[in-house]
Amino acid sequence: MTTPAAPPSAPWDELRDADGRPRPAAHELLAVIDHLGLEELRARQAAATADILTLGITFTVYSEAGGIDRAWPFDVIPRVIEATEWAAVERGLTQRLVALNRFIDDVYNDQRVIADGVFPAELLADSANFRSECRGIHPKFGVWAHISGSDLVRDADGTLYVLEDNLRVPSGVSYVLENRAVAKRAFPELFARQSIEPVDAYTDELNRLLVSLAPDGVGLPSIAVLTPGVFNSAYFEHSFLAQRMGATLVEGGDLVVGEGDRVFMRTIDGLEPVDVIYRRIDDLFLDPEAFRPDSLLGVRGLMRAWKSGTVSIANAPGAGVADDKVVYAWVPDLIRYYCGEEPLIPNVPTFRCLYDEERRFVLDNLRDLVVKPANESGGYGIMIGNRATDAQIAQAAEAIEADPRNWAAQPILQLSTAPTLTADGVEPRHVDLRPFILTGETSYVTAGGLTRVALSKGSLIVNSSQGGGSKDTWIVDLGAGWGTY
């Protein structure tokens, strides 16, 4: 058990070191930005924003008047990561997703992880994301979470942590590709003189993965991307991915489960079979027959078809069992258990109040910790120790003592910053990073990922629906010989 470091005064900056000098991978970028000056930088930002409008790169915001299509918020200054560091992150994410997938396959089948005393049975019983309908199913390659996005944050000492895993319907990858398209227009000189890893291959890799999931005996599978529809906040992405893969974008109403428990699309020439579905609808809305009977988004009988093996679904129903806050705390143990290796990327240290020793530590250090209920999402019930009143601290302590299993605590991280163009000039703003990981017979990690940035000063909220922006993320290879222009 390590003691969390006291929060240091200054956050880590992604492009400059503590003395304000450019980090090696950011050297070229910062030189160009300095050379351009603020006015030219603003002109390039304006051109990028105009590109986003005309290309129709949007996301949808819910409102009382229905969905509103908004231009995607983009900051023109990219975030840069050196290729050697990224190679290590790729290995770590691959390892993590292999372990998580083995865990999912295990809990729906033999449950060795419980029998061996690594994961507590009662936690699985409590899990809101465990789908008993999935017991006994073996998807191809034993993989359930084919497409995932893990959020990474960097603390003040420069360590990258996994903050959470998204194994259900993670979104954002289309913006990784579109941000690059916009950035290439904004900084053509930089792409010409350094080696920046391309990101465009993602949709091809995704296509390859989905093809590999086809039920046995299917030659060239018919692939559909299942969207909740045009009002979904990620509709742009669903459409984008279908287009880039040549897949068919379908809504629930376009599909029907027919003869032989097969899934069909309704076409102008009648019913045509579907072999692989990349679904972007949550489990509970997938099939009114199996889950929520009031769902209008799903397809009646889809679970039946999936279980009978006539159609593959990515991500598999039930994959979400491994991405809740409870399981998160066990991921390092799961990596050791399933892979026989030490985790290559650390979790944010998480103290599980279920265990006496960890609970005692939490109760003694409430001021320095974030306390989170295990089964709530969306930030509900979170207590941030250094901002809490004495009464709130006492209240948290009481809640933990009353129901230790429902509480976990983490040190307060200082999110890293990156230079960002603001009304007041170029200023540091907090960022996180969501790389996307494809897992099938083999694994693939995006070169970089989606960097989200909190646009208001001091803010930690990076969500695009709440005023967050995004940046292109450059994996720069200094060994490629282009660095010394």
Binding site: L53, T54, L55, G56, D69, S222, V225, V230, S239, F240, A242, Q243, A247, T248, L249, V250, E251, G253, D254, V256, M265, R266, T267, I268, D269, E272
Partner: protein, 334 residues
């Protein structure tokens, strides 16, 4: 492979963009026509509303804006011109206005981006963004002319983009069908309203010495221009403009791409590229039968109300064809 839902969206994207283009041309050419006519002979604006099959409903908000604009611009435009132009071009509450049609067409192409090439989407999205910034100034005649010209040229650009960038598969056939059907419908509407009005003008005059000059040829030129047919008419007719010949040209010419006859041929050709088109093809036969009757009835000159009636019958037959296409190809569900 084409989803019925996607087929429906593409068919309607095509109909909306064609309606926008045709409405834009009608409004644009009407302005030019009136510029040529002395005040007393000016062609009224209100009947244009009937062409789009709309009822003239104005929101209170719209009326207020209109009053403000009139105070600023009373010197350049009449009250009815402003009101009609706003209703047909920029009124978001009129589902058939140019702006509404472009908005709908864009939405349909946005939701079929896995099928329609990006360049096509970019074209209509560009136009949409342009209208969003310019529509407010649409009561200024010069702004309006520029805006309407842009709608017409971008609509054609979109056709060109799809013709050379999109696989000519069932999805493209849906586009062609939507375009041709809407275009045929608009030609009959121009004849039923504008041409009928010119004929009635003539019938109502006694040709006495007090009568202001009617400027028949100018009026008929206006009708032809509103369906971009003047030059091709003249090339085909090789004679001074005559009303009955104009009507025949727009109904029966089998090579002019806006005449009803040629459009029915295009619709037939498109349908034959789809599977099991018998139902819709029967409906095309019915439209052709009505077209023959209309042509016969108007061949040797007809008065305005006869022409209007004949065109109504043709529009109804086209609407039945639209229903048959929808039943066969566009309906989602069992």
């Amino acid at each position: 492979m084409l989803l019925s839902r996607v087929a429906d969206r593409i068919y309607w994207a095509a109909r909306y963009i064609e309606r926008a283009e045709d409405t834009a041309r009608i409004v644009l050419t009407h302005g030019y026509l009136n510029a040529d006519l002395p005040g007393a002979a000016a062609s009224p604006w209100e009947p244009l509303v009937a062409i789009t099959g709309s009822e003239f409903l104005e929101s209170a908000n719209g009326r207020q804006q209109q009053q403000q604009q009139q105070q600023q611009e009373s010197a350049v435009a009449s009250e009815s011109e402003l009101a009609v132009a706003r209703f047909l071009v920029t009124d978001g509450l009129n589902p058939s206005s140019v702006v509404s049609c472009i908005t709908n067409s864009r939405e349909n192409l946005r939701t079929t981006r896995d099928t329609v090439p990006d360049e096509g989407w970019n074209t209509v999205n560009d136009l949409y963004l342009y209208l969003a910034t310019e529509a407010d100034r649409g009561s200024d005649r010069r702004v309006r002319q520029r805006l309407l010209s842009r709608v017409i040229s971008d609509s054609r650009r979109l056709d060109g983009v799809l013709a050379v960038a999109m696989t000519h598969d069932e999805a493209y056939v849906m586009w062609r069908l939507g375009r041709a059907l809407e275009r045929a419908d608009m030609t009959t509407r121009v004849l039923g309203v504008r041409a009928a009005a010119v004929l009635s003008l003539r019938a109502g005059s006694n040709n006495g010495p007090e009568e202001p000059e009617l400027h028949d040829e100018v009026q008929w030129m206006g009708v032809l221009r509103s369906v971009t047919a003047l030059q091709m008419y003249q090339r085909a007719a090789r004679s001074p403009i005559e009303g009955p010949l104009v009507v025949q040209f727009l109904l029966e010419h089998d090579r002019f791409p806006r005449s009803v006859r040629a459009l029915l041929r295009e619709i037939r050709r498109a349908l034959r590229e789809l599977t099991d088109p018998d139902g819709p093809l029967d409906a095309v036969d019915e439209v052709e039968a009505v077209l023959r009757q209309s042509s016969t009835a108007t061949e040797h000159g007809a008065d305005g109300s006869q022409l209007d009636e004949a065109m109504d019958a043709l529009q109804n037959a086209i609407a039945r064809l639209d229903r048959r296409i929808a039943e066969r190809y566009l309906r989602v569900g069992p």
